[in-house]
């Protein structure tokens, strides 16, 4: 993952100038927002909730876009716009060149049935249906009968590790297993887009790591376009090809996760990332030099996708060394240990007092 292949991908789904305001008269409130009123003020003075404000995000084909932010920042609201469980106040959602906001009811239903599937935080399985029937929900909603989806459903259940439990009911399974059913349900639908709203947040940490690995593993074969919501930075960094950070309904920064880590553009983000182990998350490719003409004396070779932590271990803490960087056997640059150490220093803004306003969400 993590954009190892720099190959240019096409934009599958594009959110443009999207606003969402909750309240009795969102159109009028919108004018206030456009005139510069912010979220707290909109609530104080006009009693409307600013859900989303001028969102522009491109989601590329076959990539995992992670949307992250604190509780109440509008993540769920945003992902529900993609399949129009929530209607925008204004804005466009363009899928393969078509604005789905203009779709009528029948086309929208068709879209939800064939183009998108969703995985929910609390699983949202049908309690009165067996695991197998749950996995086949999307297909049976399309009007297929069991014989036509049973093989696929069984296959995916097997794949997510639930082989042999097809006949059970959801309440007989643990949370992690239920979420596997949720994932199998999304996969059985064969839709190219998968929407996952805090799909792993309700799981305990071990199972959660398991599920993240499972998702990444599946993604290498399936290359679906995945929109993943998370309020957990470690999870976001692990999964994201493209990271979007929301605050109060606004995108504060988006881009390659490594890029955001190294160049946060907002104290809010600095605050977010100050708690993580940078050495474990940052990769060699993000801090190496590519432009050097004169090759320095190198102490060895490291992989471009190796974490800085592993390089530090390799060097034994000696900052005088340099390494040659290779990707798939070809030389791509050099890594200077001094630069590496500098990358580990939290960005300047982090010391500007934001730390004491510690506002990370639980989990």
């Amino acid at each position: 993952m993590n954009g190892a292949a720099a190959m240019e991908k096409t934009v599958k789904l594009s959110i443009r100038n999207l606003y969402k305001i909750f309240g009795p008269d969102p159109r009028r409130a919108l004018e206030q927002v456009r005139a510069g009123v912010d979220k707290p003020e909109l609530w104080e003075k006009y009693r409307h909730v600013l859900g989303l404000q001028d969102i522009n995000v491109d989601m590329k084909n076959g990539e995992i876009t992670v949307i992250m932010g604190l509780s109440g920042s509008g993540k769920s609201t945003l992902i529900r716009h993609v399949n129009r469980l929530i209607e925008p106040t204004v804005g466009e959602i363009v899928l393969d060149g078509e604005n789905i906001i203009e779709f009528g009811e029948a086309r929208l239903r068709e879209l939800r049935r064939k183009e998108m599937s969703m995985v929910f935080q609390h699983f949202a399985l049908l309690p009165h249906k067996t695991v197998l029937d749950n996995a086949g929900t999307a297909r049976s909603v399309r009007g297929e009968d069991r014989s036509s989806y049973e093989k696929d459903a069984r296959g995916w259940l097997e794949r997510v590790g639930l082989g042999g439990q097809e006949g059970q009911y959801p309440h007989q399974l643990s949370g992690g297993m239920q979420q596997r059913v949720g994932i199998a349900r999304a996969l059985t639908s064969n839709a190219p887009i998968m929407l996952m709203d805090e799909a792993f947040s309700a799981l305990d940490p071990l199972i959660r790591t398991d599920m993240q690995d499972l998702l990444l593993e599946l993604q290498t074969e399936l290359t679906k376009t995945i929109v993943f919501i998370s309020h957990d930075l470690d999870e976001a960094l692990k999964l994201a090809d493209h990271l979007v950070i929301l605050k109060d309904g606004m995108v504060v920064q988006q881009g390659e996760p490594q890029e955001i880590l190294l160049n946060p553009n907002d104290p809010y983000i600095v605050d977010f990332i100050s708690d993580i182990n940078r050495a474990r998350v940052l990769r060699v490719r993000s801090v190496m030099d590519t432009g050097l003409d004169a090759a320095p004396a190198v102490a060895g070779t490291v992989d471009a996708d190796a974490t800085l932590e592993s390089v530090i271990a390799l060097s034994g803490g000696d900052t005088a060394l340099s390494y040659a960087v290779k990707r798939n056997g070809t030389h791509v640059g050099y890594l200077d240990m001094k630069k590496l150490v500098r990358a580990l220093v939290p960005t300047a803004a982090a010391r500007d007092g934001m730390r004491n306003a510690k506002r990370r969400s639980p989990g």
Binding site: R113, L125, H128, A138, H171
Partner: protein, 358 residues
């Protein structure tokens, strides 16, 4: 003269008052006094009182009291008379609509009474037991029901019990057939819910006897639909309420999932909402059946056959034994119906034990 003379004198209305002083109908007090066999004189003071009364005994300025002072003011009885004549005026046009609409109810009731009574007991009893087993899958319950029915039959109450059962069968079935769709409609529209709930509240709080009054005027007492309607109006409330509640309580995230996978409204209703609301709907059906039973006894006042007739006889003729034994029969029926529907409900709950755990 009367207590409130001063008002009309003060307002200069004395002339208007005395101008068309007519006898008019009796005051409420006179009416009640007459009913209880006392002389009309006994009640007159309560209505008006002479001007010499102390402040303690100041009557409320009701219509009757004011009428005492000023005969031009209408009496309360004129209000009840007005309601009555108003009802009688629209009665005929109401009948034109209601009669044909409700006619099938008479047929159903007559048909069910005929079927329950003419089917020989040695077919009917096993059939009932089979239904009990099918609903509850419990041999213990089947045994209890068998014992109860044999007991009732042994003391020659079998026919009355079957009549009561037949009426409950038809009325409860119609309650479910009408109530569930109404409940579903209510769950979908907040406006409809707001409009329906006061009606349901009224149906539930009106004493059952009160339903009977307008119904007696509308339909002849010989028609089964008279008591059929009374029972349905009384018993339909819980199944409507609990269907509405059950559907509204369905987990929002599950509904969202249904939408996200592109279910149509119909698919959502049959695949998600009704199955998940079923425990609540069944609880409503249980209450509806119990309320039908309560009402079918009262309905014997308007010629509903069954055990209620015996209870009524017991009261009217002071035949203590007849009344009590029939009462025991009703209790047995109530226990049977309650246990069987509860057992069915428990099975539904077990099958979807479900959400709470997930």
């Amino acid at each position: 003269m009367a207590t409130y003379d001063f008002i009309f004198d003060g307002l200069g209305l004395r002339e208007w008052c005395d101008k068309d002083a007519t006898a008019g109908p009796m005051s409420m007090a006179d009416l009640l006094a007459q009913g209880s066999g006392k002389g009309a004189d006994g009640g007159t003071d309560a209505g008006g009182g002479s001007s010499g009364v102390s402040l303690w005994e100041l009557p409320f300025p009701s219509l009757d009291a004011l009428n005492k002072a000023c005969p031009a003011v209408a009496r309360t009885r004129e209000v009840t008379k007005g309601v009555e004549s108003g009802f009688l005026d629209i009665k005929d046009s109401l009948k034109v609509v209601l009669d044909p609409v409700t006619q099938p109810l008479s047929w159903f009731l007559e048909g069910a009474l005929y079927a329950f009574q003419t089917t020989p007991w040695f077919i009917m009893i096993p059939l009932l037991l089979a239904v009990v087993y099918f609903a509850s899958k419990s041999f213990k319950l089947v045994g209890f029901v068998a014992f109860s029915i044999f007991f009732l039959a042994f003391i020659d109450h079998y026919n009355f019990a079957m009549q009561t059962l037949a009426i409950i069968f038809v009325c409860a079935l119609l309650c479910v057939l009408l109530g569930v769709p109404i409940g579903i409609a209510m769950s979908r529209s907040d406006t409809l819910q707001r409009m329906t709930i006061p009606v349901l509240d009224m149906l539930q709080t009106l004493p059952p006897f009160v339903y009977l009054i307008p119904l007696i005027f509308l339909f002849s007492v010989t028609e089964p639909k008279l008591y059929g309607i009374a029972i349905i109006l009384y018993a339909i409330v819980p199944v409507i309420r609990l269907t509405d509640l059950g559907i509204r309580l369905v987990d929002k995230e599950v509904i969202e999932a249904a939408d996200a996978f592109g279910m149509t409204d119909r698919q959502k209703l049959y695949r998600v909402q009704i199955p998940l609301a079923l425990p609540n709907i069944m609880a409503g059906v249980n209450q509806t059946i119990m309320m039908s039973l309560a009402m079918v006894v009262i309905a014997s006042l308007v010629s509903a056959p069954g055990l209620g007739v015996l209870v009524l006889r017991g009261i009217r003729n002071l035949e203590l034994g007849v009344g009590l034994i029939a009462g025991l029969g009703i209790v047995l029926l109530a226990v049977i119906l309650d246990r069987v529907t509860k057992a069915a409900l428990a099975r539904v709950n077990a099958a979807s034990a479900v959400q709470r755990n997930s």
